[in-house]
């Protein structure tokens, strides 16, 4: 805190004006998140208020209660969606880190046939958006017969060109001499990978974890297309049904529950981002496409 106050004293007038306007801008962009926080804790009466209020006056956990109660009455309990989401996210993150790190290490430090071809394809597929080819993906999932299994959730996300790219750029910074030295000392490739590359690439690993968690934790495509069994669907899918039900009669009544669910969706992302923010910025410095 003292450091910040010291910074203020050092700033010129134009910098202070800039800071204040940026703060206002940031606050404005932050509004939706404040809204979710407040809305999730509003009691029923405040949701119906006119004029509408922004800040919650008497916070309750009623909405969270409703969220859990509402679904326990249905066919699939709320906890099942949460459980599915957690399993899928944890498995996917580890799978993505594992495959991307291996691939990135090889692409960065090894020489082999077709390397430039593989790299070219990865660069091209940076712009790949899975949403555009939902249909063939659906067919492939059906042929592999992994509908309604966790594999159907996880496998489509494992190959992530962005993850490999970021990882490769980061591993490029590790000096070749270091790896050569380890080789001379008799370390096997696997040992080099585990003892040397893995620790040194940790910021990139953290970044990829963040990106993957954000993508998978919020994904509805897999649940909508690949899962027909209601017990295999994930939390964001459930929330999207809440939100679309909101356009019917009970817009406002559903809003409180949806906001509570939205908050549950957001918090893990925020916590993980805050934990790894520094690592992420370290990685993004090397994100350039050269």
């Amino acid at each position: 805190m003292g450091a910040i106050i010291y910074q203020f004293k050092k700033m010129s007038w134009s910098e202070i004006v800039l800071l204040i306007s940026l703060m206002l801008m940031a606050a404005f962009l932050f509004l939706p998140i404040l809204f979710i926080f407040n809305h999730a804790f509003k009691p029923f009466s405040e949701l119906f208020n006119y004029p509408p209020t922004f800040i919650v006056r008497q916070p309750t956990f009623q909405n969270f209660n409703d969220l859990i109660m509402k679904t326990s009455a249905g066919a699939v309990p709320f906890t099942r969606y949460v459980f599915n989401s957690l399993i899928v996210v944890v498995c996917t993150v580890f799978a993505v880190i594992f495959t991307s790190l291996l691939a990135a290490y090889v692409l960065s430090k090894h020489k082999f046939y077709f390397k430039s071809l593989v790299m070219g394809v990865i660069m091209l597929s940076l712009m790949y958006a899975p949403e555009t080819v939902g249909i063939p993906r659906y067919l492939i999932i059906s042929w592999l017969d992994i509908n309604n299994t966790y594999f159907g959730h996880i496998l489509p996300f494992v190959a992530s060109p962005v993850a490999v790219f970021l990882m490769k750029q980061f591993i490029d910074q590790i000096p070749n001499d270091l790896i050569e030295a380890a080789k001379i000392d008799g370390a096997t490739e696997l040992r080099i990978f585990v003892k040397l590359v893995l620790p040194l690439a940790f910021p990139a690993v953290a970044t990829i974890a963040i990106i993957t968690i954000q993508a998978v934790w919020g994904d509805t495509q897999a649940s909508t297309l690949f899962m027909q069994d209601e017990t295999m669907k994930t939390l964001p899918y459930y929330i999207s049904t809440l939100a679309s039900a909101g356009t019917g009669g009970n817009t406002i009544a559903g809003q409180g529950i949806a906001a509570a669910a939205g908050l549950l969706m957001f918090l893990p992302n925020l916590i993980i981002f805050l934990l790894f923010q520094k690592r992420m910025m370290e990685t993004m410095v090397h994100s350039g496409v050269k």
């Binding site: 962009l29 080819v133 490739e189 817009t251 969706m265 981002f273």
Partner: protein, 319 residues
């Protein structure tokens, strides 16, 4: 594509070229084993789907019968008969992509630059506040936008505008075709400060400080010139990565239309993007061949967008 002969030729086994290649491949087997998990998944869930979509775009296919080859019929239908595509999906996508793409991108750069002017201790907090909405993701924010743009007196925007006398009666923001696309754009830009934004923010750190000194001596008069002549050229790689991320973001953004509308098709197709058109044909009408063709058109468009960004920010010859 010619294989990249990076190994030292003298160390290769003698014999025919093919034999040579095979023995080199065998010596490099470890590299391929390391690469395998990624490549298998990549082929299965990215490469094959794209090629399948290409193949399916020349067929008519409903998901049950065997696909029937129809040549370029789908493409011809798209250009000559698909009124919804020509009247709504294409113009909407162009407008949407322009504002979310280049305009949103410029805004991202500008904001990142402004933030970079702040002292380091405050920078992270402001950056977090701006990055946060993209973290929440579309689904969780739907409730926010529905409340904000709700068409009755209780809607936050209506209430705000009426309180200050801009409008007299509430506006049906999400039901009226006049506003729908614009709301989509605002919302998407709002949530668009994503990884690309962080990449740019980090990119400013890579600019060599001495260049600014040198620039001042060489007669750079103001901050704008500094950005144009020093900052942007120095952080081109990050700018390129960020612009590729912006293209992906724009491609993916079709979902926002159905989330705001609460159904697959927006009011009077006002927010109908190409991606919604694909979904509409694929999962409402089960014309999978036609839908694949539309998605291929979309991929081709985004490919050219990417080529354009490489032109702008990519490495030049001899750099």
């Amino acid at each position: 594509m010619k294989p990249n002969l990076t190994t030292n030729p003298t160390r290769m086994a003698p014999g025919f070229p093919l034999q040579k290649m095979l023995s080199t491949l065998w010596r490099q087997r470890l590299s391929f084993i390391f690469l395998a998990p990624f490549l298998i998944c990549f082929t299965l869930f990215i490469l094959v789907p794209v090629f399948m979509a290409m193949f399916m775009s020349f067929t008519t296919y409903d998901g049950f019968h065997t696909p029937k080859f129809v040549g370029f019929d789908n493409f011809i239908t798209l250009i000559t008969q698909d009124q919804i595509f020509m009247k709504y999906a294409l113009p909407n996508t162009i407008k949407f992509a322009f504002f979310v793409g280049p305009v949103g991108y410029a805004l991202t750069f500008f904001l990142a630059w402004l933030i970079y002017q702040l002292p380091k201790s405050i920078r992270d907090i402001v950056a977090l506040a701006i990055y946060a909405p993209s973290m929440v993701g579309g689904i969780a924010l739907t409730v926010v936008w529905q409340a904000a743009f709700s068409g009755d007196y209780v809607g936050y925007l209506n209430n705000f505008l009426m309180k200050f006398g801009f409008i007299n009666a509430p506006i049906l923001w999400l039901q009226s075709p006049d506003y729908f696309l614009n709301i989509m754009i605002v919302v998407t830009v709002w949530m668009g400060f994503n990884v690309g934004f962080l990449a740019m923010l980090a990119g400013f750190d890579t600019v060599n400080r001495e260049l600014y000194e040198a620039g001042r001596i060489d007669g750079i008069a103001n901050r704008l010139q500094e950005i144009y002549y020093i900052t942007v050229p120095s952080m081109k790689p990050q700018m390129l990565f960020s612009s590729v991320m912006a293209i992906v973001g724009t491609l993916k953004a079709g979902a926002i239309s159905s989330q705001l509308a609460g159904g697959p098709v927006s009011p009077q197709y006002s927010g109908h993007l190409i991606l919604n058109h694909v979904d509409d044909y694929a999962f409402q009408r089960y014309e999978l061949g036609y839908a694949s063709m539309v998605s291929i058109v979309l991929l081709v468009i985004s490919y050219f967008a990417m080529r354009l960004s490489y032109r702008l920010f990519g490495p030049k010859e001899g750099e």
